[in-house]
Amino acid sequence: MKPWLVPSNGIPADVTAKLHAQLPQLETARLLVRPARLVDYPVWDEIMKGPNGVFLGGPWDDRGAYLDFAQCVGSWFLRGFGLWAIEDQQSSKVLGFVAHGHEYGCLEAELGFLLIETAQGRGIATEAARAVRDYAFSVLKQPSLVLYFDPRNGASRAVALKLGATQDLAAETQAKGAAIYRLVPSDGGMEAYT
């Protein structure tokens, strides 16, 4: 294993454990959605370097993929929300990630989802993203969430629609090539989402 991917032990491991104990965890019917950790990195690497990598800003090399992971995780620290890992409750296997971020210069928080190949086509991304969406609106009181994806990525568009997002054509005109969908809290309360 690359030396920078070996998790800490001793006192820094305790610091990390304490930190994660203070962060939220979201349970859904099949999944545990929780903040990403260093041990989840190989799954991130697999997704970013896999066939969907081109939809995620790729192609990615080792350095770029890890920098992106670390900065998405760092958002927990800087923004109070960040990269979530999607864990299968039964097997404890990490199936992918929900990226909840707010990059410098963006006007609003963003929601993205990425899955390993074997987890696709089972509604996993929708189930996990729905939990994070509800957390963002009901706990963090975020006014909106924006979803950016490659317009060729039909799976992402399907998830966006199932989440109740609507296409933002005005923003797309300015964004040159990205599909942009937007989620806002429903007046009908959380029930309206499910």
Binding site: K2, P3, W4, P7, S8, G10, I11, P12, A13, D14, V15, T16, A17, K18, L19, Q22, L23, P35, R37, L38, D62, R63, Y66, L67, D68, F69, A70, Q71, C72, V73, G74, S75, W76, F77, L78, R79, G80, G82, E103, Y104, G105
Partner: protein
Amino acid sequence: MSFDFPSFSTDRLTLRVPQAQDLAPWTAFFMSERSQYIRETEPTEALAWRAFAHAAGMWMLRGYGSFVITHMDVPDTALGMVGPWFPVGWPEPELGWMIWTPEIEGQGMAFEAAVEARRYAYEVLGWERPVSYIDRENKRSMALAERLGAVRDPDAEKPYENKDDVVYRHPEVLP
């Protein structure tokens, strides 16, 4: 969200974990000539965000990371960064330092901060003889390494992105 992280005071300075408010002074540093030795490309604000969030992410991923340096009585104003970290591509963990603003140069402040951060690395993290990677043109930084008692280690492996760096290795026993 507030987390229970280490912070230290020296005679004149406080070392604490990075916070969102540090992004503005970090970005000002990153966009300026002062950051020429720590970046490989022309700076942009987007790259500044990514680099800073990455440094903050180290704390989440590893349980340690770089500390932000402030004046002891002005803890909201970040002046630089110092401390142990282990970013992607590094063959071993590093003790690094960056002074963002010229305002604290020439007063031994970087030395004071580095001594304290190194003490944390040795005494709390249990590090032995860590390295510092320094651009071969960065004379001030090399002078600081030497003042800290670090010596050139020509045999040390370098980060793959920083083949032109000079590697300093810190002493086994702290002076």
